[in-house]
């Protein structure tokens, strides 16, 4: 087995008093239970089992201010609280490890290098919602993650952290590792539930929300890997400590996956509200633009979030600040483009992805993404027609906010912002039948 060669700021985290998720990710033995436990692993789990009620756990997480790291930023403790207490049905927990958003590669690092941290977080969440069977749904292509998670799960069973009557508490908890079939949409929580049930991975209508009626029509909580991995730390060090990190409304720390035209692409755990410009230019992180070319734009939160232009990047990486500049924190994938990137070409790549990944359930997304791709391809290949830009904008408007799941929105938001910020470039492409910028290149 080998590590995926991803740069992290583990060294900084190790010596930092507050950063925690990446503390041991560079330790080649951290995935083994002995090492994990030597580093204080499963302490939180035991603390919960030995002295906390489910409500106390939920309260603690609520108080910490932890918000979902899968993209939507929904308060985690509050979500757990939605599970109906009186329901006689079994409850389920699904850890969402389908990480497929272009640019996002943080959950993978956690699963590969610190899988017990994920399991411990899952177990505590399961306890909080009264669940006795939990799933982790791992992206189909993440073979290595699957192996690591299975191995860790087996160790956890062997050490009595999972199974029947865990550590004598009377609490039972089983775990299933489930792999996806290779569809981005299966990361959308309701499509994920369908997929686990053996149905086609297609989004469901909400309501009912999964917390009320999810897997097998039973109350189900779906949480992202990173959200869950944060939980043991909250239990160990307390909600007050966690709440002291970050900004007023965005608490704790967050892993950002920095990619694109920077010198040091990698995964960096920083406090919420960390400055984006610093992330790109600071030698400890991105270390500046590749070949010191000029920055053209940044996608701050994964392929589905609107672009930021260079004048907007002096901004805090937290839910609220990014919103004020018209974008979103999303999954925390920061993609950086330099001046050589033809914006039409970038969008062509993105729309290809979304068209390909549309599940096909609802009309606007199914038909709209395909139409958009054809129009964008035409412009990119120099055959654009006058009026194409307006038509694209119009079609985007007919998709935005009108689909079942957010994939439709995700597909159009970057397009809309790319046209807004670089309209002249699009027009140039149509009028001159070529790129306005000098070079073209491939994503590496």
């Amino acid at each position: 087995m080998f590590y995926s060669p991803v740069i992290t700021n583990a060294a900084e985290v190790a010596s930092h008093k507050d950063l925690h998720l990446f503390k041991y990710v560079e330790d080649p033995k951290q995935h083994e239970i002995g090492t994990y436990q030597a580093h204080g692993g499963y302490k939180a789990w035991k603390k919960v089992l030995n002295g906390m009620t489910a409500d106390q756990v939920t309260e603690e997480v609520k108080k910490s201010g932890l918000r979902g790291r899968g993209g939507a930023g929904f308060p985690t403790g509050m979500k757990w609280g939605f599970v109906p207490k009186a329901s006689p049905k079994p409850r389920y927990l699904c850890c969402n490890a389908d990480e497929s958003e272009p640019g996002t590669c943080k959950d993978r690092v956690l699963m590969e290098r610190d899988p017990h941290g994920v399991i411990e977080g899952m177990a505590i969440a399961a306890y909080a919602i009264g669940c006795h069977l939990m799933f982790i749904y791992i992206r189909g292509e993440f073979n290595h993650c699957r192996e690591r998670m299975e191995q860790a799960m087996n160790e956890a069973y062997q050490h009595g952290h999972l199974g029947k009557n865990i550590h004598g508490s009377g609490y039972d908890l089983e775990m299933i590792v489930h792999t996806g079939g290779g569809a981005y949409i299966c990361g959308e929580e309701t499509a994920l539930l369908n997929s686990v049930e053996g149905e086609r991975g297609m989004s469901r209508m909400r309501p009912p929300f999964p917390a009320i009626e999810g897997l097998y029509a039973c109350p189900t909580i779906v949480n992202n890997v990173e959200s869950l991995a944060s939980v043991p730390h909250i239990i160990n060090r307390g909600a007050d400590w966690y709440g002291s990190l970050g900004t007023e409304k965005s608490k704790g720390t967050k892993i950002f996956s920095l990619s694109g035209h920077v010198k040091r692409p990698g995964n960096y755990e920083v406090e919420m509200g960390f400055n984006l410009k610093k992330l790109i230019y600071d030698p400890a992180y991105g270390n500046g633009m590749l070949e010191d070319k000029k920055l053209k734009g940044v996608i701050p939160g994964g392929a589905s979030t609107p672009f930021l232009t260079p004048d907007m990047i002096d901004v805090g990486l937290d839910y609220e600040s990014l919103q004020t500049v018209g974008s979103m924190l999303g999954s925390g994938a920061v993609i950086v483009f330099n001046e050589d990137a033809c914006i039409v070409w970038v969008i062509k790549k993105l729309i290809h992805f979304f068209r390909h990944e549309s599940c096909g359930k609802c009309t606007p997304c199914r038909e709209g993404t395909s139409w958009l791709e054809q129009m964008i391809n035409r412009i990119e290949s120099g055959e654009g027609q006058p009026g194409d830009i307006e038509k694209i904008e119009d079609v985007c408007g007919n998709i935005l906010g009108r689909t079942i799941c957010p994939l439709g929105d995700a597909a159009v938001m970057p397009i809309q912002s790319a046209i807004k910020h670089w309209r002249d470039e699009w027009q140039y492409h149509i009028d001159q039948k070529q790129c306005m910028v000098k070079t073209n290149f491939d994503f590496k």
């Binding site: 068209r355 096909g360 359930k361 009309t363 993404t369 007919n398 906010g401 009108r402």
Partner: protein
């Protein structure tokens, strides 16, 4: 299309109500109602593609957008539940723009081949494009085209089942077909494949869409993506007009609509005419395609009379003259009691009643029955079984039953519609559902527990349930003591041993029956056809008493044919209920005192040459009576046989006069469904050739005997009405009944139980003549469970010799995963199978031995 009714909505109680405003109008509806339903109630139309009243909403098409104040985005009304104070606009500019955009999206890749598309004229897409779309397309690219393997054109034309053709290019991916198939029918032969704009509907790999409800998929497809060979390329819908009718193949009284063309006097198709109380708008294929027999070129169109041993064409006058003369002679010489009649329970009330009058007034004979395919029928209308039959039953009450027991019924093959109801209860309700059968049936899919008993041990199963309840104190102890006095079976353990059903299962049913607040319990054909039906009914009546089911259960033996219930109520059996006899005597001023004979007794007397003249209206006893030799030998001895039917059959072959009978589509008739509900089937087309309805035939024969006998239609209808008004429920006796378990005795070598069933796509003896149904199955076969087949080294399609004590037939094998037990099944619908020649009427369970025929 079916409309949602109040019944599908949550119940109305004050705290359950929500008030909202739609287009400025205030309305109050139950919580849980969708905005779409609420708008409908107000008469506000919202266009939809993917919504279906009987399926869970999926919000896929996005056509049903509405704007709701304080909600920033457009909402899909089909899935949006009402909330107090909601202010909804269904026709604002934003909504209109949203709908336009959806139509534009859908049309991007739609072929627009309306001129050659069979859906043209009744296509939701066509209609909604006219109403809400734009005139122009902004799409400038090549449309995406699915092309079937082997096709060179861009026209997609995939036969995905015996009847269904799929054109993926026309499909708008509303998913209604797949959803209905799965949710409503429990079938998985159709699915969605691929993703995004190339997502497609298709048959599951290696499978055919051939389930018994598949025709519904075509009907609910909003566009011409799914068509069937029945209708396609034959006529445009606007050239047809519709006539409401009733299914003639099932007893539910499924409501249908004929599409006919008047110039050609021809019916082109049948669709649903949704009735929530009866059918929820779903038609079994036999109901949908069975109409085709009406158009069949094989129909009898003129009377035939036997001359020098050969049947030759004749006029009605000639035929009636012969009938009058010959029946007259017999009546004169031997008395009317030497004449008998058998009528089909598929005939309408008027025909049945006219036949009754013909026999009872014309011949002064009580020899009449409507049950031509059952052995050892109850002689008395007050027999335990007939009492069970008479109990009230409501199809719609299945929906919210909390316990459902089906007993002795291969449900889909005899009561397809009730199967769908139970499936609905299974999907949406909390019912405990039990299927109790001598072999595993497909109902297991919708059962909490299936009890499989050894063939012929029905009363032991029932006793076992009762005894388990007594032993475990689930019922009143005193009643238990009384019960035990009448039941030789000592304990549930003993009953379990005899029936082969484990005690735990018996107890589980007992528990449900003890606790249930609204119980549905019915028996099917396996009980009705059992020679011991009265014994089994006695056991059930005891169970009813023991558990105190009165007031909390509907328990009945379900009628099987379109008008079995009508025949029962009108007294078309040898000993009608006293009220009926009194009424008839009042109406006619006379009622025969002669002995009353049921089908078996009549056949026996024919054999003894005591009955010499016989009239058969629409029945085919030679093919369907469970002892072919017995019937055939007898009928051959008759002096004079008149048979009226739609086609030449095994029975008409033996007749001296054959009369062409009009089908239910060709005259106005009234039918009583299994609930006792009288419904009208209007006349869709003129009778073919010289065919005549049953009541006219009976009247004409009466007149030929005695001109005084003439009755016009009004008189017949008025008498029928008075009879139907009579209370038909026969009370249960006041004490427990004696139930001594019966056994059939050993049959030596012949030890494999054989059950005669209806094929998934057929019913009775006529549907072979419907080409679409023949597309599903046109040849007889023997259904063998996989285990048994492998033991006997029989493979699918092998020729199998099926032998009983009295007969032998050779049938191709069909290995069926639906049946796992040690039984074989043979459909009775194919005349070439001769399957009734294996049966003996005195048997309780038919047994055979089978072996592979070596080539």
């Amino acid at each position: 299309m079916a409309e949602a009714t109040k019944k599908d909505m949550p119940t109305e109680t004050a705290e359950n109500m929500v008030t909202l405003t739609i287009n400025g109008r205030e309305t109050t509806v139950p919580k849980g109602t969708t905005v779409l339903q609420a708008a409908k109630e107000l008469g506000v139309h919202i266009p939809t593609f993917c919504w279906h009243p009987k399926l869970k909403p999926v919000g896929a098409c996005r056509m049903c957008y509405v704007e709701v104040e304080k909600m920033p985005k457009l909402q899909v009304s089909c899935a949006l539940e009402v909330m107090d104070g909601m202010v909804v606009h269904t026709d604002s500019d934003t909504v209109k723009q949203g709908r336009k955009a959806i139509i534009e999206f859908i049309l991007l890749n739609h072929p627009l081949d309306c001129p050659t598309c069979d859906k043209g004229g009744e296509c939701d897409l066509q209609n909604l494009t006219f109403a809400h779309g734009v005139d122009d397309s902004r799409f400038e690219f090549q449309k995406y085209r699915f092309v079937d393997e082997g096709m060179t054109t861009t026209f997609d034309d995939r036969r995905i089942g015996p009847e269904i053709i799929l054109n993926r290019n026309r499909c708008i991916l509303c998913y209604k077909c797949v959803r209905a198939n799965k949710e409503a029918f429990g079938e998985y032969d159709l699915g969605v494949y691929e993703r995004g704009s190339i997502a497609e509907i298709n048959a599951a790999p290696g499978e055919q869409v051939d389930n018994p409800f598949s025709g519904n998929l075509v009907e609910i497809c909003p566009v011409g993506a799914l068509t069937n060979s029945d209708w396609r390329y034959k006529i445009r819908v606007w050239l047809t007009s519709t006539t409401p009718s009733i299914c003639n193949y099932t007893s539910s009284g499924i409501n249908t609509l004929f599409f006919k063309e008047n110039h050609h006097n021809k019916i082109y198709r049948v669709t649903s005419r949704p009735s929530d109380d009866i059918d929820d708008g779903w038609l079994p294929d036999v109901t949908r395609y069975g109409y085709q027999i009406v158009n069949s070129p094989d129909r009898l169109t003129t009377p035939l009379v036997k001359k020098e041993g050969k049947q030759v064409e004749a006029t009605w006058e000639e035929a009636l003259e012969i009938i009058g003369k010959r029946f007259g002679e017999i009546k004169e010489r031997l008395g009317g009691v030497c004449v008998g009649a058998l009528v089909s329970p598929g005939l309408d009330n008027a025909s049945l009643h006219a036949a009754s009058r013909l026999m009872r007034v014309g011949f002064k004979s009580n020899n009449i029955d409507f049950r031509g395919d059952y052995r050892y029928l109850p002689e008395s209308s007050e027999s335990p079984f007939m009492r069970l039959c008479s109990r009230p039953f409501k199809i719609a009450d299945i929906d919210d039953s909390d316990v459902i027991v089906t007993f002795g019924s291969d449900l889909i093959r005899e009561h397809a519609n009730e199967y769908l109801r139970i499936r609905k209860a299974f999907n949406f309700g909390n019912a405990r559902i039990f299927a109790v059968n001598p072999y595993q049936t497909k109902s297991a899919d919708v059962s909490s527990l299936e009890l499989v008993y050894l063939p012929g041990t029905e009363e032991s199963v029932v006793n076992g349930i009762c005894l388990a309840a007594i032993e475990d104190n689930l019922v009143d102890a005193k009643r238990g003591e009384k019960f035990k006095l009448k039941t030789p079976t000592k304990s549930s353990a003993e009953a379990a041993k005899v029936s082969g059903v484990d005690r735990e299962s018996l107890r589980t049913v007992a528990e449900a029956l003890a606790e249930g607040k609204k119980i549905t319990f019915f028996t099917g054909e396996i009980i009705t056809r059992s020679r011991q039906r009265d014994l089994i009914a006695s056991a059930l009546i005891n169970l009813h008493r023991l558990f105190g089911l009165k007031g909390r259960a509907q328990m009945s033996a379900l009628a099987r044919y379109a008008n079995s219930k009508g025949a029962e109520k009108l007294g078309l059996l040898p000993n009608p209920r006293t009220v009926v006899v009194d009424k008839l005597r009042g109406l006619w001023g006379e009622y025969p005192e002669s002995p009353a004979r049921n089908t078996d007794a009549m056949m026996a007397l024919i054999k003894k040459e005591e009955i010499k003249g016989f009239l058969i209206l629409g029945s085919n006893p030679v093919m369907l009576y469970p002892d072919r030799e017995f019937v055939k030998e007898g009928i051959e001895k008759l002096d004079f046989l008149v048979v009226a039917d739609l086609f030449e059959t095994e029975t008409t072959e033996l007749a001296d006069v054959v009369l062409p009978l009009a089908s239910w589509a060709e005259y106005e008739g009234y039918y009583v469904n299994l609930e006792g509900r009288t419904q009208k089937a209007a006349r869709a087309v003129k009778p073919i050739g010289q065919a005549k309805p049953g009541y006219e035939i009976a009247s004409l024969i009466g007149e030929a005997l005695d001109p005084e006998m003439f009755q016009n239609e009004q008189q017949i209808h008025s008498e029928v009405r008075q009879l139907l008004e009579l209370d038909s429920v026969i009370a249960y006796p006041d004490d427990f009944l004696e139930v001594k378990a019966d056994t059939d005795g050993s049959q030596g070598d012949y030890n494999l139980p054989l059950y005669i069933i209806d094929d998934w796509h057929h019913s009775g003896h006529l549907t072979e003549k419907a080409p679409s149904l023949a597309n599903f199955a046109s040849e007889p076969y023997i259904e063998i469970p996989p285990q048994l087949a492998s033991e006997l080294k029989i493979a699918h399609g092998d020729s199998v010799r099926v032998e009983s004590e009295v007969g032998k037939v050779i049938l191709p094998a069909r290995i069926s995963e639906h049946t796992q037990n040690n039984v074989v099944l043979v459909p009775r619908n194919f005349s070439s199978s001769n399957v009734t020649s294996l049966l003996m009427r005195k048997k309780r369970v038919d047994r055979v031995k089978i072996s592979k025929v070596d080539e």
